[in-house]
Symmetry: C2
Subunit: 398 residues, 2 copies
């Protein structure tokens, strides 16, 4: 009964958000291409050429001091808001927040977002990224596993080069969810003088053993697929079965039983096919596998492995001592964990809050509630819109 | 700080339990062998011969009315208590509960436990089970995937035949954890006249979409392994890589970050090997994989697939309508969910409690706290010992 009520409430929130966004004209956005050379990674390797896609919403002012950088999550892209075509089915993932007169007001701010290195969505025509599927200029063939390991810090350093190419020296704010929150935090730790505000959504300041192990489970199915061939599959069949299993893992890990179960109202445990033959998967498993396969087809398996590794190696400041890293932050900070997050658990962000408070930092925390779990950081952010608006427009912070 | 305190408290609980059990003489147990023919499964197939291992603690009284049946969990065996040899490293999994003068007092009760059909631990010399690795008398070769799908009800029906072979017509109690709780509940629903008491630990009354999908993730790596060969691997290399990945999934899903992280005190996110080469797994992943491989070697991959299926199809009474099933229960019932259970979530057992209360059943609930997560149902049961003792020895129930 209580569950049904929560779901109903959530649906109301979403419907309202949808109606509200329909009232304003669609914000059309265009993918831009940034290219940079001789990029040196934290692991000490040089990538001869890095190509990255980016998009922006709003206008860069003359002082170039109205910039908000949005950093994307593991499975995400730079498409944070707006639509490429007016008839796109979905706008960017935080369209509820970003746009004219919205919480992140593009009438005031120049909002910019870029694809990370090793972005998962290699086959998405709107994504430009550099990773193991890219051509290695030294061989004329895809890098495969010869691509260097890259880290969250490297993602940030590519963004820094992009911003520098636009003459931007300072961020009014940086904001990201999940793996995007790692990048946002890394910005604030590594380049404190350039980051005025930090919004860290469904994240954490460092990996623990639990999360490193959980992430390894995303990589395992890919490596098990006989087509993976140590990452050397670009002129052959890609490891789609393994990648499909990985998609199943990621999707469920990012959710919570409340919405998950509600999204299968016809689910029944009575399944004659699955009862009669072990070779017949439960109907639900078949449905999920078909959806996961569709998603897998837009992604590159090696890129997913590299994203797993980048996430596994994350610790703010990349120095192992989180407290030393947090000490460096001068940005006013807003932490937005999701109460039902089963992937990056809210207690880790409560710890960051306590640590920053002890360090006398300007930090606030507010929990996102909802039935999506980790994904509440994306889908249930609307109730935090006013809080975010005030946080961004408050100039009392030094 | 709070976390450290909880861990410290847990260690004290375990140490105390360990010291207490050292004081009493080791209870030596012996594996017994039960064989039955022409077993008809819920899926309508006949298994020509079923062989099952069992063990017992205490003495069957003349009236044969002092019987407590213990049903085992997914990765478990019939070894619920005692040791096979005095120098065994570990006793059975609920040795803290079962024994002379313990909560399940073998001076009073005849406690019996049997291996299920398709038990995972095919290569464990103390396990006797029948499943896809068994020889199909029709072909003289292992069944492989020709073995019929079996259900929790089938596990119960084999146990019923075993008990009948011993002249036992009634259970003083049936108790099980996790998949064992499904069997215990199924006993109470399907054979209410024969079950006087039910102790249902870290379970639930039916699968939901979330859990069916979660269980599928345990099966996926096995099917991805090129050595699996549609289950036909018995004269070749077994799918050990896939089974190892499955073990990693099961182990972590059954745990909680509190104890998980505490059990890797030397964990550091700074991992030069993993940073320098994508082919080098993080040290933690390497450690976990080695442990999982050792576990995988004792198991049979097809058996695990069949256990996944049996669990996925579980709904009390196997009729889809849980309320109708619960109506049939006449046993006095004790529900013991684990508060930090991330696998079979405690809210599902709270729902069972509410449903049974509305049906005016004799039901009580008490939550197990601890840092193990799902495994608190095994490792942190000691604080419930007195409650279990009173529940079993209270004769006021009709």
């Amino acid at each position: 009964m209580k569950t049904k009520l929560i779901i109903l409430m959530l649906f109301i929130v979403y419907s309202t958000a949808a109606v509200a966004s329909e009232k304003v004209a669609t914000m059309l956005v265009e993918k831009q291409h940034f290219s940079t050379e001789n990029f040196i990674t934290v692991s000490g390797k040089t990538i001869a050429q890095v190509d990255i896609g980016w998009e922006s919403y709003g206008t860069l002012n003359e002082e170039k001091d109205n910039v908000i950088l949005i950093t994307h999550y593991f499975s995400g892209t730079s498409h944070a808001a707006g639509k490429y075509q007016a008839d796109d089915v979905q706008p960017g993932y935080w369209d509820a927040l970003i746009g004219p007169n919205k919480a992140i007001d593009t009438n005031k701010f120049f909002v910019i977002s870029s694809d990370t290195l090793v972005n998962a969505n290699w086959h998405d025509p709107n994504v430009i990224t550099t990773g193991p599927a890219s051509i290695n200029p030294a061989t004329g063939k895809p890098y495969g596993l010869d691509f260097p390991v890259v880290t969250i810090t490297d993602f940030v350093n590519v963004q820094k080069r992009l911003l520098e190419s636009l003459g931007i020296k300072k961020l009014h704010a940086v904001m990201g969810a999940s793996m995007g929150s790692f990048q946002a935090l890394e910005w604030a730790v590594r380049y404190p003088a350039q980051v005025e505000r930090l919004i860290h959504v469904i994240g954490g300041a460092t990996m623990d053993a639990w999360t490193v192990a959980a992430l390894e489970k995303w990589a395992l199915p890919i490596r098990l697929d006989k087509n993976w061939q140590q990452g050397d599959y670009y002129d052959k069949q890609p490891p789609l079965d393994g990648l499909t299993a990985t998609m199943l893992n990621i999707t469920q890990d990012a959710m919570h039983p409340i919405i998950y179960n509600a999204s299968f109202p016809d689910f029944t445990v009575r399944d004659q096919g699955a009862l009669k033959d072990i070779r017949t998967l439960p109907k639900l498993s078949q449905t999920l596998a078909a959806r996961a396969l569709a998603r897998a087809k837009t992604q590159d398996a090696n890129h997913v492995l590299y994203l797993v590794r980048a996430s596994q190696l994350f610790s703010a400041g990349m120095q192992g001592d989180v407290n030393e890293a947090l000490k460096k932050i001068t940005a006013k900070t807003l932490l937005l964990p999701a109460s039902n997050d089963l992937l990056l658990r809210p207690e880790n962000m409560r710890k960051v809050y306590e640590a920053m408070q002890e360090l006398d930092k300007d930090v606030a925390i507010s929990e996102i509630s909802g039935g999506w779990g980790h994904l509440d950081g994306i889908f249930s952010i609307s109730p935090k819109a006013q809080l975010i608006r005030e946080f961004l427009e408050d100039d009392n912070h030094e």
